[in-house]
């Protein structure tokens, strides 16, 4: 099974999905990300899906779950890079990605996260 790498960039976690996701890979990413949020104290999660040729109900649910779990762990999630054909298909499929913030590209996504995620007020370093 492939594993999607989770990169740390300052106070953010960065994920770029570049493989045709098997369901088990999607579930592993969900777990890896929530563990990484806690381990690094990240305030933001940026997920780049520009490499995804489709988003079906399973991957859509994964994105919603990641956003919800991150929020509970005090981190904001932004999904960026959705292809137009994927967006059209998602809407027709009936998925609305409830609770998921989106931005057109990585740069805009970083700006969204930068404006909503201040460093943690406890003054502790981000890494352990």
């Amino acid at each position: 099974m492939d594993r999607v790498p989770v990169l740390r960039l300052g106070g953010l976690l960065l994920v770029s999905i570049q493989v045709d996701l098997e369901d088990s890979t999607a579930l592993a990413l969900q777990e890896d990300l929530s563990q990484a949020v806690v381990a690094t104290g990240a305030r933001g999660v940026l997920i780049d899906i520009s490499g995804l040729e489709i988003v079906d109900s399973f991957v859509g649910r994964m994105l919603s779950t990641i956003a919800a779990v991150s929020r509970v762990l005090d981190a904001e999630t932004v999904v960026v890079g959705m292809r137009p054909a994927v967006a059209i298909t998602l809407v027709e499929l009936g998925l609305d990605l409830a609770g998921v913030r989106t931005a057109l590209d990585v740069e805009r996504g970083m700006r969204v996260l930068g404006s909503t995620t201040a460093p943690r007020a406890d003054g502790l370093p981000l890494a352990r």
Partner: protein, 141 residues
Amino acid sequence: MSARGGGDEVPIAADADVVRVRQLVRARAQAAGLGLVDLTKVVTAASELARNTLVHGGGGTARVEAVAGTTAGGRPRSGVRAVFVDAGPGIPDVRAALQDGWSSGTGLGLGLSGARRLVDEFDLTSGVGSGTRVVVVKWGR
């Protein structure tokens, strides 16, 4: 409508097979000249149906083939057809299963109804104890 050339039949027995079905449908849809949006729709529908076959049907097969036909105006057109077959428990109430929100409990309830919206032709036959067969067709424009 007629099938053209030998299609591919692949087993659906594991996660990786769902990915393989997506890739097969993509290749056939591309060969049939479908545009990017139609191609994305039919690959997404195939992904939902292949997962249904795996998760709810206990595994089965997918057959993917090119088809040729004519439009209502008599113009020739080509498309892709995918047939999903399992020998699972079957669906007791097919009409209910095609409603948005109907779910066996593990998903969002969009698999069947969503897949139907994404294709041009959709046919589902199922009986309790006799498995499920879903045929979808997407035409190029």
